[in-house]
């Protein structure tokens, strides 16, 4: 099914699309534990990976699932796990280890609402969990934020590529709406080159020195060096991998920010307001780390005001403010959880911010 999907246009659910894309990207191993609204990913993978004679484990917990991915990635295999909100909380430790070990885990995080168990209501409450994280120490995870099913597919390919290229975990941050919605998508072949990892992957110490993948640090100096090395890498990622979508910012008085599937409503509203003659711009970070702060800072030089719209309590505001560095005001409109604000709600919010 997957083989024939590559190169085909089909109507499919976000979660299935992501799972299909992972298989096309060459995912060798999937490990997961169920949680709504992402369970279809594991369901799809259970059949597909067996059909392809690849690794699939119905793990006993998310702790186990992501650590299985850690083990598989240590041997140079492409491994993925997927989960949601309160269960991604359980994965923070392993993400921290994976950054230090420089292991390319791909984690698909399909947001529901928290804190705690919360519910399966739509939410963008895991922006901080993804971009800042709750693991220990200084580390960064690459975070990709798709806004539609096609982009979820394309960014799944990219997630595998960036993870391998930079030897760093990547989170594909989707949300319940995106996971559940049906849209037409076109599956290309995996568009990226394969990365040679034979210089570091564990394969048995045959005819070469033994390799140890560990985060344990024998000395202070060693650890300082290691963290500096990681941050040098993060800087390269920041310089080379920023992705964003930008509309009407050239002559805008106000630019409205939004990420993920919510940005579709925001973009539609901005287009409506433009038709009314209002000088409104639109900006959507696609990479949440690396955050497009350079571009945002440039835009802030010629715009009066920024407005960020999120379904959380304003988690992205902090990153935008850091980019703006006090040059212009950054306002927030949103709600903690629940169905995305409508075009009408957003229109009122934007007009309110402009008045």
């Amino acid at each position: 099914m997957v083989e024939c999907l590559a190169g085909k246009k089909v109507l499919t659910k976000g979660n299935y699309a992501i799972a299909n894309a992972a298989v096309i990207a060459g995912c060798d191993c999937y490990f997961g534990y169920p949680i709504t609204p992402q369970s279809e990913i594991g369901e799809f993978m259970s059949g597909k990976m067996q059909e392809l004679k690849k690794a699939y484990v119905s793990a006993e917990s998310e702790l186990a699932a992501i650590n299985m991915a850690l083990g598989a990635c240590a041997t140079g295999k492409k491994a993925m796990t997927s989960s949601s909100s309160c269960a991604v909380s359980l994965m923070q430790e392993a993400l921290s280890y994976a950054t230090s070990d420089e292991l390319p885990i791909v984690l698909v995080s399909v947001m529901r609402c928290g804190p705690g168990l919360g519910n399966i209501f739509p939410s963008q409450g895991d922006y901080n969990q993804s971009t800042i994280g709750g693991g220990d120490g200084d580390y960064k995870v690459i975070v990709l934020s798709p806004s539609n099913v096609q982009e979820a597919v394309d960014l799944t390919y990219k997630a595998f590529y960036l993870a391998q290229k930079y030897r760093n975990p990547v989170i594909l941050l989707a949300d319940g709406l995106l996971g559940q919605m049906m849209e037409p998508v076109e599956f290309s072949e995996y568009p990226y080159p394969e990365i040679d990892n034979s210089s570091w992957a564990l394969s048995g110490a045959k005819g070469r020195a033994a390799r140890i993948i560990r985060s344990y640090s024998p000395t202070e100096d060693f650890q300082c060096e290691h963290i500096r090395h990681l941050f040098k890498k993060y800087r390269i990622i920041q310089e080379n991998e920023v992705m964003f979508e930008e509309l009407y910012t050239e002559d805008a008085d106000i630019v409205v920010f939004s990420f993920g599937s919510l940005s579709r409503n925001v973009k539609a509203t901005v287009k409506n307001l433009r038709a009314e003659g209002l000088k409104v711009g639109f900006f959507r970070p696609i990479t949440l780390f690396p955050f497009p702060d350079k571009r945002i800072s440039e835009i802030a030089d010629r715009v009066d005001k920024f407005l960020t719209i999120e379904v959380n309590m304003g988690q992205m505001v902090r990153d935008i403010k850091l980019a703006v560095n006090g040059k212009i005001p950054v306002e927030f409109f949103g709600k903690p959880v629940g169905s995305w604000p409508s075009v009408e709600d957003i229109e009122v919010a934007i007009k309110g911010a402009m008045s």
């Binding site: 690794a55 850690l70 033994a210 560990r214």
Partner: protein, 249 residues
């Protein structure tokens, strides 16, 4: 003519130096692993998932590829390694805390799934690395830094009998408990490790050995007294023996 009857196993790194406390049995257990690796000729095909605890340094001694798992996750990491590379020999080496407390879910489920993995658990009745706190195998009445008047049921409940639990799992091919208190028992321990490794090579399922081991430092005993404690206090509760062996049915 003289013949060599003992050597440092070839599977050891040439420049290794144990960093355990004087008299600590971790050193013997790792030597036995090295001897078995030599005998089975598996060093170059091995990927170990190590654990957190005094056990972690095994990768500094054995000349093999390894990945250090987070505390308690050795069996999950090993599962990932093995599923991704069914042709590799994969084993874990953990303490009782790592294997049977923080990692008990991973340990039991790995056995239940019958993963083709071999696993060694060093039971020294305490969290050695963190300074001798009460752990899952701390004996009733045993004084530790977090059981100042000894382990009692009201506050701490009962110690876990690991080898018996693992033996109950359908996916387990071999489960044994051994001791290192005497030369004879050290020899039996090696046989058990070998068996736990062989069942993996034969694709029979999960192979497990619990090794009763000393922690002279945190027990506040001489190495010799520590072996007496293993004999007199641990072995009556954690009875050595083979609890499951599918090759023997």
């Amino acid at each position: 003519m003289e013949t060599q009857v003992f050597k440092v196993p070839d599977s050891f790194k040439k420049d290794f130096k144990y960093t355990f406390c004087p008299g600590c049995d971790h050193g013997i257990a790792i030597r036995l692993v090295g001897e078995v690796m030599d005998e089975l000729g598996i060093r170059e095909n091995t990927i170990a998932a190590t654990s957190i605890g005094c056990s972690v340094t095994i990768y500094d001694f054995l000349d093999m590829d390894s990945i250090e798992a987070p505390h308690g996750r050795a069996l999950a990491v090993a599962t990932g390694v093995k599923r991704a590379n069914p042709d590799k020999f994969v084993f874990t080496y953990s303490g009782d805390g790592d294997f049977a407390s923080i990692g008990i879910a991973e340990s039991l489920h790995t056995a239940l799934r019958g993963e083709s993995i071999s696993s060694i658990c060093i039971n020294n009745t305490t969290y050695g690395m963190t300074g001798g706190q009460l752990g899952p195998t701390t004996l009733m009445g045993q004084i530790t830094t977090t059981s100042p008047t000894g382990r009692n049921v009201e506050y701490y409940g009962y110690p876990v009998k690991i080898a018996e639990h693992i033996a109950l799992c359908d996916g387990t091919a071999f489960s044994a408990r051994v001791s290192l208190d005497t030369i004879a028992n050290i020899k039996k321990a090696k046989q058990a490790i070998k068996k736990a490794f062989e069942v993996q090579l034969q694709g029979l399922g999960f192979g497990f050995v619990e090794i009763l081991s000393t922690c002279p430092t945190n027990w506040h005993m001489s190495p010799e007294q520590a072996h007496e404690r293993v004999r007199n206090e641990m072995m009556p509760v954690f009875v050595p023996g083979v609890y499951k062996d599918v090759t023997n049915i």
